[in-house]
């Protein structure tokens, strides 16, 4: 999928302090029978937000007006578990544009960045300070690797390639396809 370039994200913080939030929490497996992208916002954190009978639970996630944009400040090892790319799809459809954490799980980070969901991994002290300030307006400068929120400034390092993809809207599929000759050479060498 070709993404729009993302230079900055400005939105209020939404804090979820739990560590090890797995992708089954972000989107329960029973919503994975879809064959399309999009329209997964309703499934995002579904079982935290709704009872089995469909009625709303008393959860802060339910206080965010439908589709309003937020930056998710999440706990350590966010997005662990299943590799489902439906997790970043659901977070984006719900209105999240970035996740700020101490560390995101490997496959989740990779999936998120490919879908224009910015992942900012920051130091524990700044993270703890941000976690205390739910609703605080923050700005993420993707190119500079910097978060500014009130009097808090935190730095994050994005993989150089992932950053280029985000800020220039580079399409990884196109990038790999452009290396067709090297791939063909590799295949020929092995066959020899």
């Amino acid at each position: 999928m070709r993404n729009e370039p993302i230079l900055t994200v400005t939105a209020p913080a939404f804090t979820l302090p739990d560590a090890n939030v797995d992708t089954d929490q972000i989107i329960p497996a029973r919503f994975l029978t879809t064959t399309e992208r999009g329209a997964l916002g309703g499934a995002c954190f579904h079982d935290w937000r709704f009872h089995g009978d469909g009625s709303k639970k008393d959860h802060r996630l339910n206080d965010i007006p439908h589709g309003e944009v937020r930056i998710l400040v999440a706990g350590h090892n966010f997005g662990c578990g299943s590799s489902r790319e439906h997790a970043p799809w659901a977070l984006k459809d719900f209105g999240f544009r970035a996740v700020v954490t101490t560390r995101a799980a490997d496959i989740f980070r990779s999936n998120a960045l490919k879908n224009g969901l910015v992942i900012c991994e920051i130091d524990e002290a700044s993270h703890a300070a941000l976690m205390d300030r739910d609703g605080l307006e923050m700005t993420i400068d993707v190119a500079a690797g910097q978060i500014i929120a009130g009097n808090i400034t935190a730095r994050f390092v994005l993989d150089r390639f992932a950053r280029t993809c985000l800020i220039e809207g580079v399409d990884p599929m196109g990038y790999i396809l452009a290396q067709g000759e090297a791939i063909a050479r590799f295949e020929a060498d092995r066959a020899a």
Binding site: A29, G52, C80, N115, F161, I176, L177, Q179
Partner: protein, 473 residues
Amino acid sequence: MPSPSRTLFDKVWDAHVVTPEREDAPALIYVDLHLIHEVTSPQAFAELDARSLSVRRPDLTYATLDHSTPTTPRAAGARPVYASAAARHQVETMEANCRRHAIRLAGWDSADRGIVHVIGPELGLTQPGQTIVCGDSHTSTHGAFGALAFGIGTTEVGHVLATQCLLQRKPKTMRVHVDGELRVGVGAKDLIVAIIAELGAGGAAGHVIEYAGPAIEALSMEERMTVCNMSIEAGARAGMIAPDETTFRYLQGRAHAPKGAAFEAAKARWAQLRSDAGAVFDAEVRLDASRLAPMITWGDSPDMAAPVDSSPPAPSTARMTEALAYMGFKPGEALMGEKIDAVFIGSCTNARLSDLREAASVMAGRCVKPGVRMLVVPGSEAVKRAAEAEGLDAIFRTAGAEWREPGCSMCIAMNGDSGRPGELIVSTSNRNFAGRQGQGVRTVLASPATAAASAVAGAIADPRRILEASHAQ
């Protein structure tokens, strides 16, 4: 240049670099085997269509149906009854995509169908030294053969379909060295759950684990797969075990494994796939297998685990307090004897023939406690046939368990097999996340022996008493 002393991982990685890693771009890595299933592939095929791209190497791609598929018994030739129209549509989309792109599919009428990570090895598709990917985190299972195997997202499934390549940064390496010998009643599942408890849910993040040492070398291929399968539960990118005679014996004669002289030549190549004596790992962990007991989980993350004959620890974080509250367990109170509602024997962790034998050896001549539901779901059609040939299905049925068709079933509970809110289920699968087996369901991860012993007791139980008695005979 590769350094003179390399790890097993380095050797497999180096052999698959199409273009090397640079600071501003990841390496381009060639993929030898791409496994696909119905849940994480439809949007990737749609992306190919949108760009008018074709599948570069359908011959290196292999598809199966496992996640959304019903496991309810059906007469030969009868149409499957899906849990939802969406599940049916997902399966039909997979069938259509495979037809259109000439991809081999182990479909409904195939004797080869089963859980993706069970059939790859079974068919001999999985081989030492390969790079293997699948839109599924438990792809790490295939590392048991000395392959570099890991899960990818749907966008990457599209990349591999179109180019047979993936953009990857080189991960770090960790060696988990296991000394000693597993005792009776303590299996590969207990070993890997103990390792995860030791490392923590994110403890191996960014690393590829190599499992080594006498206790690992003593494991069968099935047991090695159980170990590598759950590497992701410690956050690892992949798990690997150096191939040896056990590996070669397993592969010989498998449908897609090399034959005759080609097999001998492959064996000579595969034998080189081990970490050199001086190879340096980014992290090292040591464990003693002989000190381990059967393990079960007490919380809602796989690293929240303890010996079956112990009790949950006193919570030191809010997260632990929440997990205990969700499970309804109390610190200091014995886990054994806790009443259960259901038992699930299945999944790519523990639904191979050896797992079913282990469970059956506990069940033989015993009954599932009245009021407890027990589902036994073989990992593949081949496992099902083999189990039936030796009468394991009869043991389970006689005991009062349900004998099902192969599939992921209650491991992920998206095919209609799920628990009810509040139920406590002892499960041989790999994830005890809240709601994994149905909204509000509480999952206790355990070995097939522990799960079977618990089914008999109607409560969490230690399998050692039963197994030690039969072992002594």
